[in-house]
Symmetry: D3
């Protein structure tokens, strides 16, 4: 039985990564995973946060936001409510942690790269698309630093990509779109490296608890998806 | 003598209006005016602001924002500073006023259309591009309302478009890009209808005052540009 | 046909400018234009904003606010809503730009003058009264700087005043009071120098669009009004 | 030995209460106590706060603020810092409590009167001037309610006035101006009724503790001052 | 080799759950896990959030905060920065999700229970202690509802507890204290039911990525710890 | 006639001061006055506020807050409303002033001690309990400074304690619990030193005005209570 968009349970949605999408940024991509579309820009600034002072190291941080009409119903902007959305806050911390693990902060030197992930159209999996796309923008920003002679070699020391998996109507599915996500019994975001190791995983029993066995099946499914995503990243990243 | 991008003084930058850009919105466009790119979505909500209560009329409002890296240097998000940028506040009031003038609020009925203008790449003229693009998104949202049987005929009663003109090094120029805008002695935003009448004009002597004669020249220049922009709007808007 | 307060269409309301109104400020006036009353203070601070660092120049900025009961209906204070009123934000940017054009920032030296315009009673034209009165407060603050030996000559290099004009029931009127303003088809704020040149103009078709011909009539009307306002400024400013 | 403005220790500064100062408000005064000047407006609104719902009673509340340049050094506006000044918060609670004690909230009916006290020039004693002046504005607002037939008799059931007293260089002084206040060892604000009873008193040992004996002297001093202030209130309040 | 507080790698810290700790709350506990101390109160309110309107269901939500000096270095309060701490935001969303899974919202009826988790002393594992303790407070609040006749049977349909596990210097450890947590290569929070199923798990490679094998070991360790924690909950919860 | 908890009119509630309550703080106590429970921590930081720059002096400041369910009805957190509670603001200013009077800021040196008073259970008199308990935490923090060799002798130069008194049903009562406080005609907070002198007193006629005679009775009552509180402080403070 196929999924409502015709995919098999173990199939990713079409992935498209457009590099150099915003001309001002040191690195930038438009990533599309099915109907989910995120603009990721990586901005280099020659300053470090206070807690990194005198460390000789740089910092990677991320911000995540949605345009008001990225979703079926318009959302008020954070500034109208004077509150950073709790969900955004959680997601941008996840993106920042994930991207930091594949950067040698010593090699980066005393500068900050901010990866802004702005969802312009949402259809599930915006946080994992942000990580997958944000990685490419970040790698490009590092390349710009090398090209401009600011550092001698890239501080990128690995590849990271992410996808969601979940259990919907008792079946394990890869790469949930919005309608699947909202009906999932269990929902998991998996962030992995090109070595097949985990960087972060977050599994939530939205409607029910889940067993070790189910967890294992989901992890396998995620691994296969991330393998493909890393292939997609590699294809675009070595293009110039 | 040509301008630094090869245009003549009386020439607009290439304009591209992509309709139906965001699948969730009742109306949406990506407008590109040279390197300036703005996503405009028009969202219909079945409620009206308190000051319109019992008026039998609807309301049109606008919000304007830039992605952090739409500009050469990254800007902090409003929510990080807990303050709506003063410039954004001024611009979104302008967009809202301009679009309201070409809508019959009685015909719209007791609903609100919010036009969100999110600049994803900025190179001068973002507020005028927002009005020109926002008009198309708004017209499409009204068409959606008619198509869905919510209103019997469109409340759109005119066409509105906008451009900037200015005096740079003593010469009157049409459609300033960022580098021209930052060197302008005088800078003017003009919003006009398809009947050749003004809806709003804002002229500022950034570096010097200006005479009535200079004002007249600028107004003529703006009129010719807006004429072309309305042609561009008409071309895409009647496509389906 | 006379206006509801008995004025002719081309007549200003009575203008009264009281200097040295607040004893603490380097410059201060109470300006009354009809029933509109604004306290303008100009405060000198020996610091400059970050973007002026190492420029050798000073800065002029403005803030605009209304007391809660300056209007017919009490308005909540900005701090109660934690948001700077969008209208105030737009107006204070306008006042700041207008006053900066008649100051030589190099001569001012590395200091900031903040012109606070606090409306204690509103009856239309508060932003233009703020500019007209703010100019006198600013000039007085510069004089205080000279008197105290901080600068050798005043950095004021021109005179600026402002008024509103509009079309009400098809007639062009000078200096709209609140009731006229709320019924205006077209509303324009004009800021001019003593040389008869424009510093800024903002014209808005509140209820309808307007033609070039109407614009020209309004500009003439504004010019005559501003001429008178500059006479009023000059009368008080040379008094000591 | 006289005080630096020539007053004796037991002498108030000149008091001036100007009624009907702001044309829009139901009650309004400009009160001047020496160089301290406060605009007090009393605004009636036909609504009550949630905690008074179904009580059949009205409510009296107060807000207190200073214009930025009411003081020797310019203060940032609360909205710039997004925080209500702690001192303002404390003072407006005091004003509200004091004024509520002389109003029969049942007689007022289900409406709210907000007394806004905006200090336009500060020279010590701004909170007590706000109470003394606020009382007159409040009484006038109640009279307006009676005049307009909204209530049959005024809900004002007493008179309240306030002054500060303190110990400066070991001497008990009435009605401290700013320079005295900043050098005071002990500082006390006293709010009393026309019956000679206390409504509130706040005594603070700013630089040292104080004895019961000193407290008693200060209370006597305050009583004599408040007696005079109530005379000043009575003089203006029965004028029409 | 023992851990620095003498525990073996598979040993929990001493757990103490004090019920009825705050007299006003419908349910409340002080939970101590080693030196980590959290006050959990469960407050019943007879209202539901807007998104639950007309659902016939209730809602469970959580808030998490630390006293300023719960940590080695004093933290500024959120209100001083006007921003909810990003970490708190993430944690309170986790607590809310976890507790909701063991409540039948239909049985709860149209009311909200807010579980406030206020850390008074922090030494690692504050979020998992909040869940373990919050469960007891929540169960007690439900019992209060039954006792007061508001619902006929408790809506609690399972038991939930949580602990952290991690890899420190290459060894898998149960229940990390702060010093272990800050040195962990991998850090995982596990939330489980009394049936041995997962409700949520969050694993983070803080300093390195981790393998499926390491994940499995950590999950086993967590399961044994949670088993004990549920025993501790059961011991106190059936005491009256 | 006894009070509802069996006390005589002149009797304090049981007082319990637990020192070293929070392990991280330089000084910390849990103070219980009847059912009112406050955690007071004193945190030393090696920095001073801007207005103390180059003074050679230190600073003492206080913050006051309630846990959401410290009261009979749950209160929203300040951060949810983005506003510091007006009452908290007033109280923390009082605590700070009171504690500063018994510290020699020169002896303290250029450092700040912040006394955080967090009410975990409220039953009247939370501000006075905060001062009485805060004093002990502050004294302990100073002792820590001496023990660590940062200063040679304690900057504490006196003892301060506080209680509330009031008139309830015409009778003067010492140490009001919540139910008495909410029914009080007059309510007074008194802060005194071990020398029997006042540091601050705040008397409020909540329901009626009060006479000099009543004030005197209340002051006597307060003095006797504070005498006992200082005894309780002395008992615990000399214990190690």
């Amino acid at each position: 039985m196929l999924r409502h968009d015709g995919r098999s349970n173990t199939q990713l949605r079409p992935v498209r990564i457009l590099r150099n999408y915003i001309k001002h940024a040191e690195g930038s991509v438009l990533i599309e995973v099915g109907d989910t579309k995120v603009i990721c820009t990586a901005s280099v600034e020659e300053r470090i946060p206070p807690f990194k002072k005198d460390s000789g190291e740089g910092w990677i941080t991320a911000e995540y936001s949605m345009l008001p009409r990225a979703t079926a119903v318009r959302n008020q902007r954070d500034i109208s409510k004077l509150k950073l959305n709790g969900r955004s806050s959680e997601i941008q911390r996840l993106i920042g942690r994930s991207l930091r693990t594949i950067v040698d902060l010593k090699l980066l030197g005393e500068r900050t790269i901010t990866v802004d992930c702005d969802v312009i159209q949402a259809d599930g999996g915006t946080r994992t698309a942000s990580i997958t796309g944000g990685y490419v923008a970040l790698a490009d920003a590092c390349r710009t630093l090398v090209k401009n002679g600011l550092i001698s070699k890239t501080p990128i020391i690995g590849i990271v990509a992410a996808t969601s998996v979940g259990i919907v109507n008792g079946e394990e599915l890869l790469d949930l779109c919005y309608i699947e996500d909202s009906n999932a019994e269990v929902d998991m975001n998996v962030i992995m490296t090109d070595k097949g190791e985990f960087i972060e995983l977050q599994a939530t029993g939205e409607k029910s608890s889940f067993s070790k066995k189910q967890l294992d099946k989901l992890l396998n499914l995620a691994e296969s998806g991330i393998h493909e995503l890393i292939k997609a990243q590699n294809e675009v990243i070595w293009k110039d």
